[in-house]
Symmetry: C2
Subunit: 367 residues, 2 copies
DNA sequence: CTGAAAGCGCTAACAA
DNA sequence: TTGTTAGCGCTTTCAG
């Protein structure tokens, strides 16, 4: 008779008030300001609510009135579900979730499929602010976020957006340190594996114009860091093969490594701009019986747990902290009126996949 | 002079309409029903919006009016950030996120700290429904969810809640199969490591009353499955030591294993109710130089990626699928009026950590 | 301590 | 194709 339970709003604050013969204010106060009415009256209201199945003030109506939704929105470039597969994103989310739960705010994951560019989801999100995680400079969703009259914090990229706070890490310096580590080991002929450089699917070699035109500042910076370090050692960057992959997965890393090494067998080190790619490269090396680090040095970037397990030499960035800081920046924004930029440090972690360069000739016949 | 950008709502639909000398309906239609007005007029409206900095219809106001928030809420027992550390939860979230993004719905992570039981967050969530992931039967947040007049899908537990859909896996049958695998290998003296059985922190041995009174049906079922299988082999359950841990982490698994083995050195197999605990047990075995599976068999439950890497014998459950089904159940709920129960199958995966039982005596002197 | 009045910003009939 | 009329359910001054 009454239909399925938990599905209708049987009573409203107004109807409850009418039923009890009190004003709506009183009912509202019973929920929001217990100190504004007598305990017995409050109990009476709550009891009636229970009896009539009144579930308490409607959150949406309250949000409209109070102009606060009690949630922060998160925008990612990739499909939403990707965030739970990528270890870096997962770490970031953990930190962000921590900041949110400490502030008692919800975290709304905004559904964006890279396919149907459904900007509507951004307009539809009932949130008090946005955290934007590592999206491309020309992302339409990001532009939609900027149109919303709520504060925004960008993580990593895009850079240089007016009026928004940003938190990132020192990608360039991290890669510089790594590059110097490699040059000090004698490496001069290297290859680089990097992540997506542009919005459209492309897998293959990326020439310098493409590198410099990338709409992903993080990749630009990481590549730039390697370039800096090798320039110091006198290596001409135009001789360094850089291979790009659209997908960010170990498989992509493995195929990229295979492709690069086939075209450039003289390479003594493979610098990857992420651990995930590096782990794939490592898998390829294992399958192809390439000795690491004896014959080939392989390095990553990020410092994910898996990298530690496999002993990958990498650059660690404080991913979780980055998420937490992003959340705090958004939630604790007092009366700052100038946008803030926070850059967290990175740290070179030398483990077992990097070693002295051995010229490839050494591996031929018995010199 | 104009204050920080992206922070105020400078114009409303009404003010825009007034400015243009058209009705609010027309402006609303320009956004929501492009086919309900002429293209030029629509363009004129949109242009004016741009000029006046009107960011489009306010999502909260629209939600109030349309009675739909465009998001589903997720309730977890643990602190929000925990979800990103636990591999099972992460898999579940991936599936759920997939379902949400396909339906264009947001996913709101409701902030619940187990500490300050802040049920308010549940009341505050502007969502069209809830997915409840594996919470205790007496969770106050869960009760708050049930009070909300929106559909709810429970995943795993609690069981037997009237009027809500549920999706789970066949925990009991999975553990039964695993138990039979062990008895067929000759194991008769086993120990069990299980997850939290009650709401309060407790680490130690769990006797049968405690096991049966647990407010976590999933643990009850998994323990029950082991019990079933060993009963078939004539093993008296009261002789089986069951050790419980409040935290769900490898460390907890390691200390529990140490504790159990110290008290019960006769044990030939350690059955863990989760892979995470089993991985910890494995670590303990490695440190204590206990040969696996030679001296000790160790098994898990879940089938997380890490379990595969270390060759753990376990029971695989379709975690991601579970999340996806939960989401679909909530979102595609047509005119079902009876609650649905979906039970997904589990699968025994025998790998390298289970082997024949060898009586512990064999390990003393040279018989 | 309680009540009356005034919207928050929007959409959905229904008419014109 | 456009406008008019009614709220969605709530909170919040401000008086009593």
């Amino acid at each position: 008779m009454t239909g399925p339970p938990h599905v209708r709003r049987p009573a409203t604050l107004a109807s409850l008030a009418a039923e009890l013969g009190v004003s709506r204010t009183t009912v509202s106060n019973a929920y929001n300001r217990p100190d504004q009415l007598s305990a017995p009256l409050r109990e009476k209201v709550l009891e009636a609510a229970r009896r009539l199945g009144y579930p308490g003030p409607d959150p949406v109506a309250r949000s409209l009135r109070t102009r606060r939704a009690g949630a922060v929105g998160l925008l990612l470039t990739e499909a939403l579900s990707y965030a739970f597969r990528d270890p870096v994103a997962t770490g970031f989310l953990e930190g962000l979730a921590l900041a949110c739960e400490q502030a008692g705010q919800g975290l709304l994951l905004v559904p964006v499929s890279p396919e149907h560019a459904d900007v509507a989801a951004v307009h539809q999100a009932g949130v008090d602010g946005f955290v934007v995680y590592s999206v491309s400079e020309d992302d339409p969703h990001f532009r939609a976020v900027l149109e919303r009259p709520v504060p925004t914090v960008v993580c990593d990229q895009p850079v240089g957006v007016e009026g928004v706070d940003r938190v990132s890490v020192d990608d360039r310096e991290g890669m510089r340190a790594l590059g110097r580590h490699l040059t000090s080991l004698g490496h001069r002929r290297i290859g680089v594996l990097c992540m997506r450089l542009g919005p459209h699917r492309y897998d293959g070699r990326a020439d310098i114009p493409r590198q410099e035109a990338s709409s992903y500042p993080v990749q630009r910076e990481r590549l730039g860091g390697v370039r800096d370090a090798f320039a110091e050692a006198g290596v001409d960057w135009s001789t360094v093969p850089v291979y790009e992959r659209y997908d960010h997965s170990p498989e992509a890393g493995a195929t990229a490594a295979a492709e690069l090494l086939a075209a450039h067998p003289e390479v003594t080190a493979l610098v990857c701009t992420s651990d995930v790619l590096a782990i794939g490269a490592l898998q390829h090396a294992a399958e192809a019986r390439i000795e690491v680090p004896g014959r080939l040095t392989i390095t990553g970037f990020d410092g994910v747990p898996e990298a530690e397990r496999v002993g990958l030499t990498t650059v660690r960035q404080p991913v979780r902290r980055k998420g937490q800081v992003a959340g705090e920046l958004l939630l604790e924004r007092g009366e700052r009126n100038r946008p803030t930029l926070i850059v967290l440090p990175t740290e070179l972690v030398v483990r077992d996949t990097s070693g002295p360069a051995v010229p490839v000739e050494r591996f031929f016949s018995g010199w």
